[in-house]
């Protein structure tokens, strides 16, 4: 799309962070207590200005419905957002997200969740869209056009919970100890400025995708222009938004595998490519030529989850920590080994993935 006026004039959040993820390959349910204790162990990687979790498998009874989590500054914003939702969707259930009062969490927004399916009689202006584009369009409508309202989770049988605070306090606020999930990710944030906006915390989500990210993407300037060419507007000024939209573009729209998407984010070096056998060399040469503007350059460790699994990835020269561990059917990924040991000391295997080498875990069946 044509870049909006003054698209170049943006200010990006910069932050250091801690990340944690755990997956049970056979969809065994992991209590919320585990990721909470892990994140609490990495308390010092954040500064109380952002914490959050994503959990998969938490809404089994409504697993076929889009679970929208909304945060609204006031009742009026919520009412407006609800009108938009009803315009696009059939609402099966709406309720406040259960919370408890926590001393350290100041002025939380109103948090509400909706379980939705697409209307049989779709509004005329979006009738032609594919299902996922339709849902994304509705999310963008609320996030860009309804002041004070923000959809911070929109997948099926999954949910993100996040806000301004240390992750253990956010977990307390959202009563995450009462949830069980087969994939958890967690995030602890250390922003260098204080936007103090709940929507800016991680995980960042789009449909089923959730991302937690530690790093600063130095290629952000070109990544966001590349995304704009492909009709994604980066408005949140976070690196993570770029990761989310690129995943959506590469995997959902261009049909690349997770492995290939990871190689777009952190491609092999040209001298490695030169040493590859012909078929592989052609693949990676073409990948770098075509998707160069999507390369994520700069230090990062990201964990990405969706309804099929979890993967972790470092930048090409591993400038941010990421450690992976295995225990039976469970795989842990974390900024620090201590956070894994805190919840599972007897590990079968612990390793540091190499720079740019993705660790991809698929859920079985």
């Amino acid at each position: 799309m044509k870049a909006p006026e003054r698209y170049y004039d943006f200010e990006k959040d910069i932050s250091g962070c801690g990340v944690f993820g755990v997956i049970h390959k056979k969809r065994g349910l992991i209590p919320g207590d585990l990721p909470i204790r892990s994140m609490a162990c990495m308390h010092d990687r954040g500064n109380g200005l952002g914490g959050g979790f994503a959990a998969y498998g938490i809404y089994p009874d409504l697993a076929d419905k889009y679970a929208f989590h909304l945060m609204c500054d006031n009742q009026a914003a919520l009412d407006k957002a609800e009108d938009v939702l009803k315009h696009y969707f059939t609402v099966h259930l709406s309720e406040p997200i259960p919370t408890r009062k926590v001393v350290t969490i100041k002025n939380p927004p109103i948090v509400t969740r909706y379980f939705l399916s697409i209307k049989k009689e779709r509004p005329a202006e979006v009738r032609e869209l594919g299902e996922q584009d339709y849902v994304v369009g509705a999310i963008m409508h609320i996030n860009h056009k309804v002041p004070g309202a923000f959809v911070f989770s929109s997948g099926k049988n999954m949910g993100a919970f996040k806000g301004v605070g240390f992750p253990e306090d956010i977990a307390d606020f959202f009563r995450l100890d009462e949830y069980k999930a087969y994939i958890w990710t967690g995030h602890n944030r250390f922003p260098t400025n204080t936007p103090g906006w709940w929507g800016g915390a991680h995980p960042f989500t789009l449909l089923d995708w959730s991302i937690v990210h530690n790093g600063e993407i130095s290629s952000y300037g070109i990544n966001r222009r590349y995304l704009c060419e492909h009709d994604y507007l980066c408005t949140l000024m976070t690196d993570t938004e770029v990761v989310a939209y690129e995943l959506d573009l590469l995997i959902r729209k261009h049909g690349l595998s997770k492995e290939m998407a990871c190689k777009v984010f952190a491609p092999p070096f040209w001298d490695e490519i030169a040493r590859m056998p012909k078929q592989e060399r052609e693949v990676y040469t073409a990948l770098r030529m075509t998707y160069g503007p999507a390369l994520l350059n700069g230090p990062f460790a990201i964990l990405v989850a969706d309804n099929t699994g979890l993967f972790g990835l470092n930048d090409r020269i591993k400038l941010r920590p990421l450690v992976v561990a295995e225990k039976g059917d469970m795989i842990f990924m974390s900024s620090e080994e201590s956070a894994i040991r805190e919840v599972q000391n007897d590990l079968d295997r612990v390793w540091m993935p190499k720079a740019g080498e993705p660790v991809i875990v698929h859920l079985e069946a």
Partner: protein, 508 residues
């Protein structure tokens, strides 16, 4: 001296000779192709006629006793903000000659240089800068049309296999090429030097519109062959000799006009290569007479692709003019793989000074506008952008890439590397440095081996500096800088200029 023409004494330089140091060895006399130095039989010593001096500094550089100093002439006209001396001199000359004022090299006039108003970023604390001496740093660049997306199939071994067919590409080890300078405008020694340097460096040089001498065909992998309005030296073998074909529509130093290689420069070798008669003027028309609009350009692009069996990318070079963004978009849609844009400060072997100094727009603005337009239209991947015209140093190159260029063309810098002092008299064919001349006595001042090594050194040096700047920004691959205008900040530019460049002001 009333019998002298009015401009006789209004020359640009004074030759100052230190009598104590001068040993009357006559090196200066032999070196000066403009005959500014001469042997005075009566006085039995070397004398000088400053009015003939072009300020090339050849004599100064070669004087064994450092006896010569070339200075600006001190006699100043009365100060006048409107009627600056250059305009008086133009008028005196034209009142004498009745002709168009010719000049060479890029424009020296004070057109804003945006490179100087753009500053680069560097990493501090939140992301580490990368040391290119310890970590890989990648400058490899591919020019040509890229697909919107890739498709893969599973190979026999279960690994992905590329299904998408790629357009032909030009592979470069540096985001840099030697720009078009025709054989004829510069001599054969420099053409061999460029060919050898480009081959050694893994980049390309451009033949310009003077054809390609048969003996240089072996450097084809690193050669871009140019087709311009005069079609000089264009034939089937020529089109298939290079790694890319470039259609030259315009040149930054002289947008809208053709070219003229005077007959004096056309010796046997030039005549054979250009396929023009010995000693006759080679005149390139202003337009291509088979391109009167965009659809005609499309036909020529595909005619050349057919002639080269779609093996090489086709580039279209235009001068940066007012509607450059729309024109570039049209060129992309007409099927070009590369669009090269030459800014108002681009060099030339000969151009009317009025055109050079007044027609066209700065490359920085043109480049920014073109890159943004192609992105807005969703066709940026279909064409690579090469920026040219006044790239003076590696920082200019880095800034051009951050604005959106895939690569830059350099030519003036290359000539300076082999000794050019920008005296701007290329059109006389008497270049004392042996560059813009086909006079065998002068041309032999350029040793191809030495010249090639100077060019190689220059690109190596720039490469190292680019790597340092990239690493400083926390990037380890040039594609992450390409179009990454967030790495640029403006100092002292207006809102409009910043909007066109797509950069914020420093401090924001």
């Amino acid at each position: 001296m009333l019998f002298q023409p009015i401009n006789r004494n209004y020359h640009d330089f004074s030759i100052v000779r230190d009598k104590d140091l001068c040993i009357n060895c006559k090196v200066c006399v032999r070196q000066c192709s403009y005959e500014a130095h001469y042997w005075d039989e009566a006085r039995q010593r070397v004398m000088a006629d400053s009015s003939k001096c072009v300020g090339c500094h050849r004599c100064e550089a070669l004087c064994p006793t450092s006896a010569i100093l070339i200075q600006k002439k001190h006699s100043d006209f009365r100060e006048n903000a409107l009627w600056r001396p250059q305009f008086l001199k133009y008028i005196y000359k034209q009142a004498d000659s009745g002709g168009v004022l010719l000049t060479g090299m890029g424009s020296p006039v004070n057109i804003p240089i945006y490179w100087d108003r753009l500053l680069l970023d560097a990493s501090q604390v939140t992301n580490p800068s990368i040391d290119p001496l310890r970590e890989p740093m990648e400058l490899k660049t591919f020019l040509g049309a890229k697909p919107q997306k890739l498709e893969f199939t599973k190979g026999k071994d279960g690994n992905p296999k590329l299904k998408t067919k790629l357009a032909p590409q030009l592979e470069l080890n540096y985001p840099l090429m030697f720009s078009a300078m025709s054989f004829g405008s510069i001599n054969f020694n420099l053409h061999i030097a460029m060919a050898r340097a480009a081959t050694e460096l893994g980049i390309c040089y451009n033949t310009g519109e003077g054809g390609l001498h048969k003996s240089l065909y072996k450097y084809g992998k690193n050669t871009i062959v140019q087709v311009a309005s005069g079609r000089f030296g264009v034939h089937r073998d020529f089109l298939n000799a290079g790694a890319a074909i470039e259609i030259k529509i315009g040149q930054g130093a002289k947008p809208g006009i053709g070219g003229h290689l005077p007959g004096e420069k056309i010796n046997a070798m030039v005549s054979q290569t250009r396929m023009v008669p010995l000693g006759s003027d080679a005149i390139s028309p202003a337009p291509h007479h088979d391109i009167y609009s965009i659809e005609d350009l499309g036909q020529l692009i595909f005619a050349l692709k057919e002639a080269s069996e779609y093996r090489v990318p086709v580039s279209v070079k235009i001068a940066a003019v007012h509607n450059v963004a729309a024109i570039a978009s049209g060129i992309a849609r007409a099927g070009a793989d590369i669009v090269a844009i030459d800014g108002v400060r681009g060099g030339t072997g000969a151009a009317p000074g009025m055109i050079r100094d007044n027609v066209g727009i700065p490359i920085e603005l043109a480049l920014a506008a073109v890159d943004q337009r192609l992105r807005d239209e969703g066709i940026r991947n279909r064409v690579s952008i090469v920026a040219a015209g006044g790239i003076r140093c590696s920082a200019d190159l880095v800034k051009a890439i951050a604005l959106g260029a895939d690569a830059c063309y350099i030519a003036t810098s290359v000539l300076i590397a082999v000794g050019c002092t920008l005296c701007a008299k290329c059109y006389t064919g008497k270049c004392p440095w042996g560059i813009a001349t086909n006079d065998a006595r002068l041309a032999k001042r350029q040793n191809p081996e030495v010249a090639a090594q100077k060019m190689i050194n220059l690109v190596h040096a720039w490469g190292h500096e680019v790597e340092e700047m990239l690493g400083g920004m926390g990037l380890n691959s040039i594609e992450s800088l390409r179009g990454n205008r967030d790495k640029l900040r403006a100092v002292g530019l207006s809102e409009t200029e910043m909007e066109i460049l797509g950069v914020k002001h420093a401090g924001r």
